[in-house]
């Protein structure tokens, strides 16, 4: 090039200087706007997801101190958002315990008390309505759930020529739902309960598609529960009020059962159709059923190996 150096350099030309300034300015503006666009979801987060929860580690990698801090902040958030004083615990699996559930279909009469007890115990959102247990009305003599009716409405149950099949999370030994989770937000605990870290779930709903029992539910919006209906005994992995945008499910009431109690659905069953216990204890009721009754599991061909057993009785 023949351009003389020093006299016509870009720094000396006021036109060029203005152009480069404008370019840089527009570039910066665009970058800022795109940053704002990308972080928009952060700023419009529902109040159910705090920045603490957003930046926290996976449940399995939490130090005890960090976990205590998180439990405290969840309690504070519920107090702020719902006006209820609650305690959020973190019950650990017990050694030598594997939970199992059995349901006597000859006894169940479809009264749906278990459904409502579950809703109240587990702080499920009342609006939009959410229920973990689905009581299917089945035609007598058939095991075909395609012929069932979930929305039966009778003055009195049991109806003629019907029996009732309550379905909830089967706590599979080979769960398809945990395998499809892209972020490992759901896993099976040593006592057999498949749990969800609600602070880690990204709400992709792959697990809902994978579950053959339709046991998982999605929080479409902020949970609506009246303060007086909130169950203050909460667990991090079970019945604390879930934020919007995450999946939840039955955990056999692990905040109760890990303290030795029965699950809520069993406590209220007026027909005594439900039996719960430790399958590893040879003297437990659930073990008696597995040894002495002809139990069956739902969708055996799916290979999920549930820990939930059904049986008929004379």
């Amino acid at each position: 090039m023949t351009t003389p150096s020093g006299k016509k350099g870009p720094a000396m030309d006021p036109t060029l200087q203005r152009r480069s300034f404008l370019k840089a300015g527009i570039g910066t503006m665009a970058a800022l706007a795109s940053l704002a666009g990308v972080t928009a979801p952060l700023r419009s987060l529902e109040s159910g997801v705090s920045m603490d929860a957003f930046l926290q580690q996976h449940y399995k990698r939490l130090t005890p101190e960090a976990l205590d801090q998180i439990l405290q902040s969840i309690e504070n958030e519920i107090a702020r958002d719902y006006g209820a004083k609650v305690t959020v615990g973190n019950a650990k699996p017990m050694d030598g315990v594997e939970f199992g559930y059995a349901l006597n279909l000859t006894r169940c009469n479809g009264n749906r008390k278990c459904v409502e007890a579950c809703v109240q115990e587990n702080n499920q959102t009342r609006d939009p309505e959410m229920q973990y247990i689905r009581v299917l009305e089945m035609p007598s003599g058939s095991l075909d759930v395609e012929k069932s009716d979930l929305y039966f409405d009778h003055d009195q149950v049991p109806a003629k020529e019907k029996y009732y099949l309550p379905v909830q999370c089967q706590q599979c030994q080979n769960p398809p739902c945990t395998k499809v989770c892209p972020v490992e937000a759901t896993w099976t605990e040593p006592d057999g309960i498949t749990v969800i870290d609600y602070n880690w779930c990204i709400g992709c709903r792959y697990c809902m598609a994978a579950c053959p029992y339709e046991a998982r539910r999605f929080n479409w919006s902020k949970a609506q529960i009246a303060p007086e209906e909130i169950n203050p005994n909460m667990g991090y992995l079970s019945n604390r009020i879930r934020p919007a945008g995450v999946v939840e499910k039955c955990t056999y009431c692990l905040h109760r059962t890990r303290e030795g109690k029965y699950p809520a659905c069993m406590e209220v069953c007026p027909t005594g159709a439900r039996v719960f216990g430790n399958m590893l204890d040879p003297d437990s009721e659930i073990n008696y059923i597995l040894k002495n009754k002809r139990v069956y599991i739902l969708k055996e061909d799916a290979g999920t190996v549930p820990r939930f057993f059904y049986y008929f009785d004379a």
Binding site: V38, T39, P41, L42, S44, L45, V49, F54, L55, M94, R107, N109, N111, R112, K113, V115, E116, Q120, R126, D127, P128, E129, Q131, R134, Y151, H154, Q156, V157, P158, V183, W200, I202, G203, R217, F218, W220, S221, G245, T257, E259, G260, K261, Y262, A264, M266, E267, V268, C269, P270, T271, G272, R274, V275, F276, N278, S284, E285, Y288, I289, A314
Partner: protein, 202 residues
């Protein structure tokens, strides 16, 4: 650390896509479609359907009588249909078991009777039922017939067990039909059910 950052960004993206995905289901935010919950509020009441267990006696006008207060001398026929006098309100529907004295002791009316003619104290009604309902009694003993409440882990707390008569009327033992709680009003995908009865199945 890097993985964690990725996961956090995927949270942000998922939430933003969730907002888009939520758009077709706005009923939740629309107060005009709020679901009114019609549910009894005593759902956690664990009282059995026939109430607390009480021993064999007779109540009238606020007084409680032992059966032998009348039956010290009266010897009724082994069966009487329809039931009369103080027993007229008993609905009797116990299958082939139609004789009063199959269960009630012929001479001591404050007790039940076993197969040998010996007395069964009224505090142990399950022994009486086991005369005919052996398999059910065996299951009840094992703790799988009839509801249990309390603690599955008895090292942490007590477990309560119901007697037969707390769920079954001994004179008409078939478990009575009951009114179910309301049906769900939404599918599991949270969509409201349309009014027509052939609405979407789950």
């Amino acid at each position: 650390m890097h993985i964690r950052a990725c996961a956090n960004w995927s949270v942000a993206l998922a939430i933003s896509t969730c907002h888009l995905a939520c758009a077709p289901a706005p009923e939740a935010a629309n107060p005009s479609t709020l679901v009114v919950r019609v549910v009894e509020n005593n759902v956690f009441d664990t009282t059995p359907v026939r109430g607390e267990f009480h021993p064999l006696n007779y109540k009238k006008a606020g007084f409680t009588y032992r059966c032998t207060e009348c039956h010290f001398s009266i010897q009724p026929p082994p069966r009487q249909n329809p039931l009369q006098s103080e027993h007229a309100n008993i609905v009797f529907d116990h299958g082939l078991n139609i004789n009063c004295l199959n269960c009630h002791h012929p001479t001591n009316r404050d007790a039940y009777v076993d197969h040998e003619g010996n007395e069964i104290p009224p505090s142990q009604p399950a022994r009486l039922c086991s005369k005919c309902h052996g398999p059910t009694y065996r299951d009840w003993e094992a703790g799988i017939h009839g509801r249990q409440n309390g603690y599955w882990d008895t090292s942490k707390g007590a477990r309560t067990k119901l007697f037969c008569v707390q769920c079954h009327d001994p004179h008409s033992p078939k478990f009575k039909p009951m009114k179910p709680l309301p049906a769900p009003q939404r599918t599991r995908f949270s969509a409201l059910l349309p009014d027509h009865p052939e609405g979407p199945r789950p």
